[in-house]
């Protein structure tokens, strides 16, 4: 009996339907976090001694409580760069998935925004990120808007991307949208979440930007655009 057999044993316990009298998930979480005390804890532990399924759930919770968080590494110099390099690798993974997805017919129901986001991601990875080999150390982007990429949203295809003149953050007129309406969208890919700043009303001339920082104010009022960009910055793409 080796690791796989033990894993099968765990699986068999995980697949088992809970019986009446089994501990609730909340009770297990509280016990594992150490917030249950005294007689309550003793009672819960005595059930763990008699129920293998609950003991399995408890052990699994205990194992998961010590998992690392990314920012802890990010705060430690060289490890920060390692984390960034890892993120770049994840982007490459995203690229390969998008490429695979684009080889099959795209349903008509897909919104133009989704196509725009996918194309922007392809641009980020295929055009701006280095392909295999050691990734260069990224220089942190300075506060404020540094550069932007603009593209047409409809009829999107690989390479259909134009570079726009970067708006000047120091003048205070930092909105790249001018008087147009704007919105912030979150794009969730396999392992990353990007915030996109989109100018326009979902038409073919929408412009899409990648934001880093904290886009905390999510509204569609053009007069609040500057407030947004004081907290967020458009990511340097080149």
């Amino acid at each position: 009996m080796h690791g796989k057999e033990f894993a099968e044993f765990v699986q068999a316990l995980e697949l088992r339907e809970p019986r009446s009298g089994c501990l609730a998930d909340e009770q297990l979480a509280a016990l594992a976090s150490g917030v249950t005390g005294g007689a309550d804890a003793a009672s819960l532990r005595s059930h763990l001694g008699a129920c293998l399924a609950c003991l399995q759930a408890y052990a699994s919770l205990q194992a998961l409580l010590d998992l690392p968080l990314a920012n802890a590494a990010a705060e430690r110099g060289a490890e920060h760069e390692t984390a960034r390099a890892r993120l770049r690798e994840l982007w490459r993974d995203v690229l390969s998935r998008i490429r695979r997805a684009m080889t099959v017919p795209i349903p008509l129901a897909w919104s133009a925004g989704a196509v725009a986001a996918a194309t922007l991601l392809i641009h980020l990875v295929a055009v701006r990120l280095p392909s295999p080999g050691p990734a260069p150390v990224a220089t942190p982007a300075p506060p404020g808007i540094t550069a932007a990429t603009e593209r047409a949203a409809s009829g999107a295809k690989l390479g259909d991307i134009r570079t726009a003149v970067a708006p000047d953050a120091t003048t205070g007129s930092s909105s790249p949208c001018g008087s147009r309406r704007w919105r912030i969208e979150s794009v969730v890919t396999k392992n990353l979440i990007s915030h996109l700043f989109v100018c326009g009303d979902g038409g073919p001339d929408d412009a899409v930007y990648v934001i880093s920082g904290r886009p905390t104010e999510v509204t569609q009022r053009p007069d609040q655009t500057s407030a947004i960009l004081e907290q967020a910055r458009i990511q340097r793409l080149d």
Partner: protein, 182 residues
């Protein structure tokens, strides 16, 4: 940043918090799905992807509230586990999928052998081992660090042992399991 701070950061739209979340969730889903060895690697990937999307939606909708880290871990674990269970159920319904993953499936003979071994292991745990040995064994096969098991044994069983002793005892229990059921 702890788990609670990370969740708060995600709710505020903090990019660093989201990155921390993704790294943490990737490790968590990998660990949980490792307990489902009979899932095909592609199924595991699918389960992790689906679970992540659900969790992100819950966080963005501010529906995921927790008072202590265990609640977050528990919720994430359950979401991943339910995705894995859904895949098992879908597998039963779709014979064609079964054919596709045939290479990863055990033969009927192997499957029966495996079931017998699991029953044997369960009997061993319940009827022959003490409560603390059962506890140590279950913790170790779930990859809980020995230092955490040490704390748990002290608070739950009044048993004060060094981490090294826990490792040695698990090694012996594992050999015993091999001898009895392997």
């Amino acid at each position: 940043m702890d788990l609670l701070a990370m969740m708060e950061g995600c709710r505020q739209g903090d990019t660093q918090a989201w990155e921390a979340f993704l790294t943490w969730f990737s490790a968590l889903s990998g660990r949980v799905l490792a307990g489902f060895p009979n899932l095909h690697p592609l199924e595991r990937e699918e389960a992790a992807d689906e679970a992540r999307l659900k969790l992100v939606a819950e966080i963005q909708a501010h529906r995921l509230k927790a008072d202590y880290p265990g609640e977050i871990v528990n919720f994430a674990r359950l979401v991943v586990k339910r995705q894995a269970l859904d895949l098992f159920r879908a597998r039963r319904l779709r014979a064609d999928l079964r054919a596709q993953i045939a290479s990863a499936e055990a033969s009927p003979f192997t499957s029966a052998e495996s079931r017998l071994r699991l029953e044997c292991l369960e009997k061993l745990l319940y009827h022959q081992w003490s409560a603390e040995n059962r506890f140590i064994f279950m913790m170790k096969i779930n990859d809980v660090p020995s230092t955490r098991i040490q704390t748990e044994l002290a608070s739950g069983f009044g048993l004060h042992v060094a981490p090294g002793t826990i490792d040695v005892r698990f090694h012996r229990l594992r050999l015993e399991a091999l001898k009895a059921c392997g």
